[in-house]
Symmetry: C2
Subunit: 235 residues, 2 copies
């Protein structure tokens, strides 16, 4: 692991273990340089990483401070895939509705940047949180990149498998959000009524080299789902 990543994770753990709150001050740069025995740039890089993650904010002339929102039970839209309802204590399970290899829809092919002749793995599943329906998810995985999937993998964490099993590096993603009304099928799977509101998210995941490998369409049970984003400054 790289120095700056290790330091960032050490600092993050330190904040966690000491239950530091929003606005609490961290040691000054000089102290951190000495503590970790690295140059200023390395510490700076660690802190920039933590700032990007929304863990700290740095104020010139003043110090380095902990950033921590107060609300609990929100799903982070940025800490890519793998939910992680804030501070855990939430049990996520899945039921597979469909799983096969097929030709993609026009829409999926367009997003994945492949032709409709190429194979994709198709996964449709309902996800539950503490026993309640959380969402209905349909995903298309480029078979040319995700060369193998099976039911066992699909019922667990697909992304862990992609990283560890296939050795691929997940990079950036484009996320599209909107509200709408449940159709009959969605309502059925989520145990709600047709016409109820839905929180609808499409995500296109890319590898670090820019290749799109997963296009997902997710319909959330609006009663179970609250999301949050930590944004950084007017870019």
């Amino acid at each position: 692991m790289l120095k700056y990543q290790q330091i960032a994770s050490d600092i993050e753990r330190y904040i966690e273990e000491n239950a530091l709150q929003q606005g609490d001050k961290l040691p000054v740069l000089e102290a951190l340089m000495a503590r970790f025995e690295v140059s200023k740039s390395t510490i700076t890089k660690s802190l920039d990483l933590l700032e990007k993650k929304g863990v700290v904010y740095q104020v010139r002339g003043s110090g380095i401070f902990v950033r921590r929102h107060k609300r609990k039970g929100y799903i982070s839209l940025l800490s890519n895939q793998g939910f992680k309802k804030d501070l855990e204590g939430f049990q996520i399970t899945s039921k597979i509705i469909e799983f096969d290899v097929r030709k993609p829809t026009q829409e999926a092919a367009d997003n994945l940047n492949i032709s409709q002749e190429e194979d994709v793995y198709y996964v449709k599943r309902v996800r539950y949180i503490n026993g309640q329906t959380l969402c209905l998810e349909e995903s298309y995985y480029s078979k040319s990149i995700i060369t193998f999937l099976n039911k066992e993998i699909v019922s667990e964490s697909i992304f862990d498998y992609i990283r560890e099993g296939l050795g691929l590096n997940v990079g950036f993603s484009d996320i599209y959000l909107q509200a709408g009304r449940l159709n009959e099928e969605e309502a059925g799977y989520l145990g709600l009524e047709k016409g109820f509101p839905k929180f609808y998210v499409e995500t296109l995941f890319h590898l670090t080299n820019g290749q799109p490998f997963d296009f997902s369409k997710v319909t959330y049970n609006f009663e179970q789902s609250q999301f949050f984003i930590q944004a950084n400054g007017p870019l």
Copy 2:
């Protein structure tokens, strides 16, 4: 303006002017160093900034590439306040419903981290996009930070005024999202029916020094609003 910011904006303009597409390759680091006559770290910092903004992605051993999603007409949730429906051509107007100085609600005071005795500016307005209702917005501004507001400012861009008029630096924000159902009042302002879906967003804006100064509650017309986020890698 700092070198790395200037370079970043030059590169961004270059991409814009030449209408580069997703996956198009930019000149290599060496070339950029020579072109802008700066050190490697400075170029790197510029590119990191652009990567954070979702404008490029960098692949070690391969190159620097343009990142550009295809969909048009989506509102960016990250390019903080000031909407900017993608690639413009959209006219945003506002109608003020209420504007005054008052004591905050418990909720607003909690979020702004002030007592209920302190004054806030309260603004309630409906925003329109191309003549259609876009959203109903309620905002609370800490009067101790935003020392002055008036109707003229409120009907234009409040954030521009905060930056230029007051000389304050807008920093990070916490954004909370959910779907729900319109109540009677919201439906009225948006010209929809009670019980229809809504896309609901609360945002807490902070200055760069960490002080919260604006708590906003926004109810979007679900028919007019699609949002997107460009996320970067599993943090």
